[in-house]
């Protein structure tokens, strides 16, 4: 009887200790009390967006963030500005932006946010001058060094496709956008330095928002340039449709060397079929996860902004296999 009582008393003490510990853990969740607004970029569930959404949602859950409010702008810079203003009006703890509108467009708004005690941080497309100005207030960057990412993609294209001086290439990208265009520029510059003749084509806003609209455009380009040896892009959505483009233009895998970016489900088919030769993996999951973490450590613990280069390398038809389940799950 005495041993049973002792056992029951020990079990009760253990239960109380466990309840206290979990209460303590719950109360100490770093993100508790924080509301974060986050610009996701395009449309919900879209290739270049899905992994960021997943990363951000999982970071918010892991850190116990009260509310993560996702904003989708269809990749339109002026919509990103409007949505930043709406986020500012809501006075959250932190706002995560993307650099597509450029530092000039964001400058006064970020200043206002920081002056009002809101942490602002950046992902996917850099805002170097703003990061330099507000780093101590938590302005970090989680994304690719865009120019270097484009360069890396081009180097793999040159090596894999045995591209040589005098070959014709086309780079399809958003060259007009401030820092975001550095990605395409890096790709095009690297091909040019290798002696290729590079044609730079601008992605329109319609295609930017709906990449399927690019299929007839690019198919027509390919058919009108029979000597074309390489196509490069740093637009995730366009990468996904390039296999369709080449099929429609009557090309076989390997006829044209293709370099792209991101690992959308549509891009898997492109890699597996051999139409897409290399795609820059910018670890979009981390571009969603890290800014949320940045928000929490800066809002709660006043830590400065950190820079994380998420440009890991390129994925090729040889390495895509193992990643397929993770891509389908919206993680890679």
């Amino acid at each position: 009887m005495r041993s049973i009582k002792r056992l029951l008393a020990s079990a009760a003490a253990l239960a109380v200790a466990a309840a206290g510990a979990s209460a303590a853990i719950a109360a100490d969740a770093p993100g508790k009390g924080l509301t974060i607004y986050m610009q996701m970029g395009g449309h919900p569930g879209e290739g270049p967006v899905l992994a960021r959404q997943t990363g951000a949602a999982e970071a918010a859950a892991a850190l116990g963030v009260d509310k993560l409010n996702a904003q989708f702008s269809g990749w339109a810079p002026e919509t990103m500005i409007e949505q930043f203003k709406e986020a500012l009006a809501a006075k959250p703890a932190c706002i995560v932006i993307m650099g597509h509108p450029g530092a000039d467009a964001f400058a006064s708004l970020v200043k206002q946010a920081v002056d009002e005690g809101i942490v602002v941080t950046d992902g996917n497309s850099p805002l170097t001058s703003l990061q330099d100005a507000y780093k101590t207030k938590g302005f970090g960057y989680a994304g690719v060094d865009l120019y270097a990412g484009g360069t890396l993609t081009a180097q793999n294209m040159i090596k894999d496709g045995n591209l040589k001086s005098g070959d014709e290439a086309m780079v399809y990208g958003v060259f007009s956008q401030a820092e975001r265009g550095l990605s395409e520029k890096g790709l095009a510059d690297t091909l040019e330095k290798a002696g290729l003749k590079v044609d730079r084509l601008e992605i329109t806003q319609e295609v930017n928002s709906d990449p399927s609209l690019a299929v007839p455009i690019l198919a027509a380009y390919v058919q009108s340039h029979p000597k074309l040896k390489a196509i490069g892009t740093q637009h995730g959505g366009v990468t996904g449709i390039l296999a369709d483009v080449l099929k429609q233009a009557g090309k076989k895998p390997g006829d044209i060397e293709v370099g792209g970016i991101d690992l959308a489900p549509a891009t898997i088919n492109g890699l597996k079929s051999g139409y897409v030769s290399a795609t820059l993996d910018q670890l979009l999951y981390l571009q969603g996860f890290m800014p949320v973490l940045q928000c929490v450590i800066s809002a709660k613990y006043k830590m400065p902004g950190l820079s994380l280069n998420t440009g890991a390398g390129v994925i090729t038809p040889k390495t895509i296999g193992a990643l397929v389940p993770l891509i389908d799950a919206g993680i890679r």
Binding site: Q53, N69, A105
Partner: protein, 368 residues
């Protein structure tokens, strides 16, 4: 049972259905996101971002009232925005840039009006073509690039068009009230009087009812339509300037996101897609609903995938509610289709339309 006089007069308030929908949605957001919608800051934000949409939708109200459509105004936002940015920034032309921008919008409008009214191209096709043309011109001229208007806030043009009433260095909400909200309100009120009290508005509604009858009664349909599209072009150019100055940036593809939102705002506001009936008050509140919808849903914590679903639902509910209130004939037919109780407590057979009021007989009564 006919409504009592007080209730009847209530239903005669212009735009009442959409005002009720707006109030309900606003109330809902105040409940689901009180930290945002019970504070003044979000409304100050709307006052600095919604004016371009309100101007576009107000102009579109006239166009749709005339039984036409204009799909080219997003291109005016880009084209006129570029004209303004380049003259303001590169040539420092200040107020001359403003006049030139208005002229560029008027030019697009006059071309549209001529193509539709004089040549006779259907407005959907004509303005679809000009939308591609002018946005293409904007891209060609700008090289697809964006222009940052650094130092714009130090100019009188910026202050008079989009400046703030309060201390420029203050972030307090009462200092953030934007002058463009006042201009937009004044323009909307002015155009309400034009639509409802001026001959031009009367002509627009007549044309919307019937082009042929309008000609018979002596309305110069061609001239009125050209004026109509010119008005739309000028309003779009004002919207372009406000957008460009507010952002202190010209973006190469700005304006693309306004096409469907402006049309939706007009239609859920109660203006008839078939022409002949229009309400600027309805359009105004339609804009308010559309503009706050996504912000409210995001603040409530709804994930991105749900936003479009809820938007579509609210649009449909708004239009159905409007039809119910404003069109008693449709309401009666709806209830008749699903049966309604008679005074004795029995049900009318399903599908039987209620007896119409007595009218002058134009022939034998089919029931006798």
């Amino acid at each position: 049972m006919t409504p009592r006089p007080r209730v009847r007069s209530l239903f005669q308030i212009e735009g009442l259905p959409i005002i009720v929908v707006f109030a309900l949605i606003l109330g809902l957001f105040m409940y689901t996101a009180p930290e945002v919608f019970l504070a003044p800051n979000i409304y100050m934000t709307f006052l600095s971002t919604a004016p371009p949409l309100i101007l576009l939708a107000t102009g579109l109200t006239f166009v749709i009232a005339a039984g036409e459509i204009d799909l080219s105004f997003p291109a005016v936002i880009a084209f006129s925005g570029f004209v303004f940015a380049i003259l303001f920034k590169d040539y420092n032309l200040g107020w001359i840039a403003v006049v030139a921008t208005l002229a560029s919008g008027a030019l697009v409008g006059i071309v549209n009006g001529y193509l539709i009214a004089s040549i006779g191209i259907p407005s959907f096709i004509a303005t679809l073509g000009t939308q591609f043309f002018w946005s293409g011109i904007a891209t060609v001229l700008s090289g697809g690039k964006s222009y940052a208007l650094r130092g714009a806030e130090d100019t009188s043009v910026w202050w008079w068009i989009v400046g703030r009433f309060g201390d420029p260095n203050s972030y307090a909400w009462q200092d953030q009230l934007s002058i463009q909200a006042l201009w937009t309100l004044l323009i909307a009120v002015f155009l309400w009087f034009i639509l409802n009290r001026h001959r031009f508005g009367e002509h627009v509604l007549f044309i919307g009812d019937s082009n042929d009858v309008s000609r018979v009664v002596g309305i110069n349909v061609v001239a009125e339509k050209i004026k109509l599209y010119t008005l739309m072009g000028v309003l779009a150019s004002v919207a372009a300037m406000m957008l460009t100055l507010e952002n202190k940036n010209f973006f190469g593809n700005q304006g693309q996101g306004y096409l469907l939102t402006a049309i939706a705002a007009v239609l859920i506001g109660g203006t008839s897609i078939f022409g002949g009936r229009a309400t600027i008050v309805g359009t105004f509140f339609g804009c308010c609903i559309i503009w706050m919808l996504e912000a409210g849903l995001v603040a409530t914590g709804l994930t991105g995938a749900w936003v479009r679903t809820v938007q579509g639902l609210i649009f449909l509910v708004s239009i159905i509610f409007y039809l119910f209130v404003e069109e008693p004939q449709r309401r009666a037919e709806f209830f008749a289709r699903f049966g309604r109780r008679t005074d004795s407590g029995g049900r009318d057979p399903v599908g039987k339309v209620p007896a119409r009021p007595a009218r002058e007989s134009l022939g034998p009564d089919p029931k006798s």
